[in-house]
């Protein structure tokens, strides 16, 4: 069966349908990761986005060899060049299709993804429909206008026991499982939804962590989180990753901006001027470097090629965060020192 990818600029690409037999809508983005297809499609940061794999083969190894980064498939759709490597050994292809069907996520295979990636690089991220008809709809509303974090944040607080004696308030704005796992090795975690009443939390914590997540950090649904960070920044240790990093920067007076086509993939080199780390990125927004003046936040790491802000650290207070994903999964683990830094900052032995 044919399925069409219809871009905001009028481009229509035809491919073969797989996964859920229905239509979809989202922001079209691409990742350059060559491994970890399951980790990518279950990453909550991809919410409301149609994910294109620049690497041609998808589902080329069995599903069971991958990890679920959340309980559901988060992407709005999957676009691939060659996702039809039908693995007969353990019916992997069948499982992959079933997974997409269960979570109502359509896929398109045999698409010229190289052309698509070029278009996105040239024109920036676009809005796109996945449809059974090639007709171009009249409207392309912004998928990021929605409160996307509501779809991925936990609905009830939960507790992850840790042994170190430290207690972290973990604000879930769309956390990946591996991030929760890494943090839980450092401290006791109390994971709370993004829309909690932060002043009435019945948990005695000594630091705050804000997770990764999807969407625009300046979306008004997140202003409560930012206000809370601002309030607690005077007396608490605060750390963040991805959306959490952006929220910390906003809370302390910085600004964020939407990037042309963002960074998504596992091969981005970040530097502190001396060392380099190859890291996993998934961000369509970035902290504006100039806006950090007089906020107390210093840019301590940046992308070696385009200079985007990748890490900030407060000059006096115990506050630091990274834009990329130190928990990797998928991707390289060069930045695992980030968790070591938190361990030291907390004073965990």
């Amino acid at each position: 069966m044919n399925r069409y990818l219809i871009l905001e600029d009028g481009t229509v690409l035809k491919g073969v349908a797989f996964g859920y037999a229905g239509d979809s809508y989202g922001e079209i983005v691409f990742t350059t990761s060559m491994t970890g297809y399951l980790e990518s499609i279950t990453d909550p940061s991809y919410r409301n986005q149609i994910l294109t794999f620049a690497s041609p083969t998808v589902a080329n190894y069995p599903l069971r060899m991958g990890l679920f980064e959340s309980d559901s498939v988060q992407v709005a759709g999957v676009v691939a060049r060659d996702a039809h490597a039908k693995l007969v050994i353990d019916q992997s292809w069948l499982y992959f299709n079933q997974l997409l069907e269960e979570h109502k996520v359509p896929g398109i295979d045999l698409v010229d993804t190289r052309l698509l990636v070029r278009k996105i690089r040239e024109k920036g991220v676009m809005r796109a429909y996945m449809s059974s008809s090639p007709e171009v709809p009249g409207e392309f509303p912004d998928p990021m206008d929605e409160d996307v974090v509501a779809k991925v944040s936990c609905s009830e607080p939960y507790h992850v026991k840790g042994e170190s004696g430290h207690r972290v308030l973990f604000i879930d704005v769309g956390a990946k499982k591996s991030l929760v796992k890494e943090l839980s090795m450092l401290a006791d975690l109390y994971v709370v939804p993004y829309n909690s009443d932060f002043d009435r939390i019945e948990y005695d914590y000594d630091s705050i962590f804000i997770s990764n997540g999807p969407g625009d950090p300046s979306h008004q649904s997140l202003s409560k989180v930012a206000d809370f960070i601002r309030k607690r920044s005077v007396d608490t240790h605060i750390y963040g990753v991805c959306l959490g990093h952006q929220l910390i920067s906003l809370a302390l007076g910085g600004k964020t901006m939407k990037m042309k086509f963002g960074h998504r993939g596992s091969n981005h080199a970040v530097t502190d001027g001396k060392r380099i780390f190859i890291t996993t990125h998934n961000h369509g927004y970035a902290v504006d470097r100039d806006s950090l003046e007089n906020t107390g936040l210093m840019v301590t790491q940046w992308d070696i090629n385009d200079g985007s802000v990748e890490m900030v650290r407060h000059e006096e207070k115990p506050i630091f965060s990274v834009q990329y994903h130190p928990e990797a999964s998928p991707g390289p683990r060069d930045a695992k020192w980030f968790f070591e830094d938190i361990r030291k900052d907390l004073g965990v032995r």
Binding site: T32, S33, M34, T35, G36, E39, A54, S55, P56, T57, N60, Y61, M65, G66, L67, R81, D82, A85, V88, T113, R114, V117, G265, S266, N267, H268, A269, T271, G273, K274, R275, I276, I278, I304, N305, A328, S329, P330, G331, P332, R333
Partner: protein, 447 residues
């Protein structure tokens, strides 16, 4: 770190003649290295015994010596040219061996000359099987389990050993290829009894055989500041037991999960950092996907045949970058000459697949077509495509042999089974033939 200004005149050691077992890939690395050094205003002197290489072109090096690749020649050149630095990692095993010989013969004490790039001690450790194994154990990285039997301990030790199948070597055949594969305790006991009756002073070296499991390589670059990146990985279609030069190789790997990919990447970086490589190198792993165990097979502390392949497959200028590191630069300072606006500090992400197939000379020479641990191929072809199938068939078409044109093998089913079972240049055609005869993929794979 910027350019090391004390490096003024570098001797680059070439790889010598193109023979079976060593293809012309080092010409590519050597020439890239020479040009990269000259770009920095460094004078380049080249030694190569092979006049028929592009390296000996005057546009590549400043001074060229076409002489035997020997200690005597190097000594003469050092004295005459007042060489201050030697780059031995661009001329394959030949140049590396010469560097080790120069060290043994005290050339570095006798003249004010040094090795640039990967230090000679590192080369020594990587090349010496025993030292290398010891280092791997120190840093807790797995190598194939091994044991050593003497006349005193073998009676007690053999019952305790459980590393079958294993390769046994006598102490006097070490390093050579005189290994034998044993599969049971009984076989080992019999061999040991017989051996120690005759040679009671000798030892038997045992090592678990990794034959039959998946072989993966990573191409790694490390700079003077200790930054380490992997350019790409390569998945061998043929398992351990077939030389990588004889194997069909796919880049990037197609059957490894993210966990596996990065477990090996982590290990590669750990090993290469512990060794202290400065520049490019290649590390080989044996990966057992069922037990999730891996072993480090070896490290080539130089640009190798695989570097040439990795460079072509990924578009990353490996030899060039690694020469810049040899003269003092770090990855954060080197601009990628292909993109011109990005740095050499990145890991290429491919939106295509490459397949390398060796080209054997069996259509010209009447020799045994079986392939194994020894190289018989004389060259290779590479196909690039958006899918594995496209890349694979482009490569096959480029082989230009009788079989690659017809894609059919007019043989009996019995013979076909045998051709699929035994590694040879015909195996890929045998597999295609079997699939065309509608044998199921499971059946073909079970052979």
């Amino acid at each position: 770190m910027p350019l090391d200004k004390s490096i003024k005149k570098v001797l680059v050691i070439g790889s010598g003649p193109v023979v079976i077992g060593q293809a012309a890939e080092f010409d590519y690395a050597g020439s890239q290295a020479c040009l990269s050094l000259r770009e920095e205003g460094i004078e380049v002197v080249l030694l190569n015994s092979n006049p028929a290489t592009i390296q000996t072109d005057h546009s590549v090096a400043d001074r060229i010596y076409i002489e035997p690749i020997s200690v005597e020649a190097v000594e003469r050149i050092i004295a005459k040219e007042k060489i201050d630095s030697i780059l031995p990692t661009m001329g394959g095993q030949t140049a590396l061996n010469l560097a080790l010989k120069l060290k043994r013969e005290g050339i570095f004490e006798k003249y004010p000359v040094r090795i640039i790039g990967t230090p000679i001690e590192t080369i020594d450790t990587a090349e010496d099987r025993e030292k290398f194994h010891r280092l791997m154990l120190e840093i807790n990285e797995p190598v194939a389990p091994s044991a050593r039997l003497t006349v005193h301990n073998y009676m007690d030790d053999i019952p305790k050993l459980d590393i079958y199948p294993l390769i046994v070597r006598t102490s006097f055949s070490l390093g050579g290829s005189g290994g034998k594969i044993l599969r049971t305790k009984e076989e080992l006991s019999a061999l040991a009894n017989e051996f120690f009756r005759v040679y009671s002073d000798e030892v038997l070296e045992l090592e678990k055989s990794l034959e039959g499991i998946m072989e993966i390589e990573y191409e790694v670059i490390r700079d003077n500041a200790g930054n380490c990146i992997t350019i790409c990985n390569m998945e061998n279609l043929d398992p351990m037991g077939v030389h990588t030069g004889e194997s069909i190789v796919v880049t990037p790997s197609q059957t490894m999960s993210d966990q596996e990919y990065h477990n090996l990447r982590d290990s590669a970086i750990k090993v290469i950092s512990a060794l202290g490589i400065k520049g490019a190198c290649n590390i080989q792993f044996a990966l057992n996907q069922e037990t999730e165990e891996y072993y480090i097979v070896e490290v080539n502390p130089r640009t190798s045949r695989s570097s040439a392949l990795a460079s072509k497959a990924s578009g990353y200028p490996i030899a060039r970058t690694s020469s810049k590191i040899a003269v003092g630069y770090n990855l954060t300072e080197i601009i990628n000459p292909i993109t011109k606006n990005t740095y050499a500090a990145f890991e290429p992400s491919l939106d295509y697949i490459t397949v390398k197939i060796p080209r054997w000379p069996f259509d010209k020479f009447e020799v045994e077509r079986k392939i194994g641990v020894q190289m018989k191929s004389i060259g290779e072809v590479m196909g690039i495509g958006r899918t594995f199938e496209e890349a694979f068939f482009k490569a096959i078409a480029s082989l230009e042999t009788k079989e690659s044109k017809s894609l059919r093998l007019p043989v009996s089913d019995e013979k076909l089974r045998e051709l699929i079972r035994t590694p040879s240049d015909l195996r890929i055609y045998a597999i295609i033939e079997a699939l065309l005869r509608k044998w199921s993929p499971e059946e073909v794979s079970s052979l």
